[in-house]
Symmetry: C2
Subunit: 160 residues, 2 copies
DNA sequence: GTGATTGCAAAGCGTTTGCACCGTA
DNA sequence: TACGGTGCAAACGCTTTGCAATCAC
């Protein structure tokens, strides 16, 4: 029951309607281009580059400039609706930001992205802080592996 | 004081010599440009961009093209002597790679970089793996804070 | 001597800027 | 209506490529 409620709240928090409100409250206008960009990011389960978003928008029949994608992503990042993902090959892809789940789990084959929580690095942070003399403000953790789908594909290839 | 200088010279010579051997064994030639680039990276305690290295080499009186820096970094990364650092503002800076100390501690003010070890993420990794169905291969952890020098500077500014 | 490496110039590519027109509030 | 947002074209800066001269082996 609690799980279901948590799921509903989580889901609600990520609707494009909610994003529209936040964009509006931040002093920015809601436009067709921005709605489309938000929609594309929310629907995707992997990190998208500006070019990915641009192509997808064109395929959906929207007349849109790549420049608009850049300018929109800049604003969405500023108001924390979107965050940049650093992958092995670069750092120019974006995903929807989810509060309270700051760590990422990446699939190295299909580039799918998931959030996870539950890390507890307080002990490590304290010990490194004592050893180094640094005042530690933040930590940044990512796990890299193979998602269930890609694992299955690998197994099938082995059987064939 | 003298002891420290001797230590630094010994340490540098040792490491730089090691690198030459590794470059050679990997089938690449030792050239003046490459020696200079390796030297600059080994002497630095922070991550350097190709442009940083290029400027430093020119200041040391070496006639060198930026292209050579790019091509050398590419090879050094390939044979694991150098690694790319992902910072908040991008991922185009390099540091010397140190085996067995894969995690970084970054100063957000002066961009100094240090390695640390001693993390134990096995429990976390196992639990995320079970929850998500991912087969987890690697983890990537960075701590971000303020180094002792920058902390001291901050305190002095407060006192003034 | 031979083939890898270098530096320059130029091309390539992702990203940003200038500007006139458009659309939201 | 006013002004933020848009798209196009052009500028920009970082990175890569082509090529002749150079240098390590």
């Amino acid at each position: 029951m609690i799980m279901i409620i948590i799921f509903i709240i989580y889901h609600m928090a990520n609707t494009s309607h909610n994003w529209s409100q936040i964009i509006n409250k931040s002093g920015y206008r809601i436009t067709g281009a921005r709605q489309m960009i938000v929609e594309i990011i929310l629907e995707s389960d992997r990190a998208l580059t500006p070019m990915d978003i641009f192509i997808e928008a064109r395929e959906r029949g929207k007349r849109m400039g790549l420049v608009t994608v850049y300018r929109t992503l800049e604003k969405l990042e500023e108001i924390n609706l979107v965050e940049r993902v650093h992958q092995e090959d670069g750092c120019h892809a974006y995903i929807a930001h989810v509060d309270g789940h700051k760590h990422l789990l990446l699939c190295r084959y299909c580039h799918r992205v998931e959030y996870f929580g539950g890390d507890n690095l307080t002990d490590l942070t304290r010990s490194i802080s004592l050893q180094s003399g640094y005042e530690i403000h933040d930590h940044w953790l990512q796990l890299i592996g193979i998602c269930p789908d890609c694992r299955e594909n690998q197994n099938q290839e082995i059987l064939e």
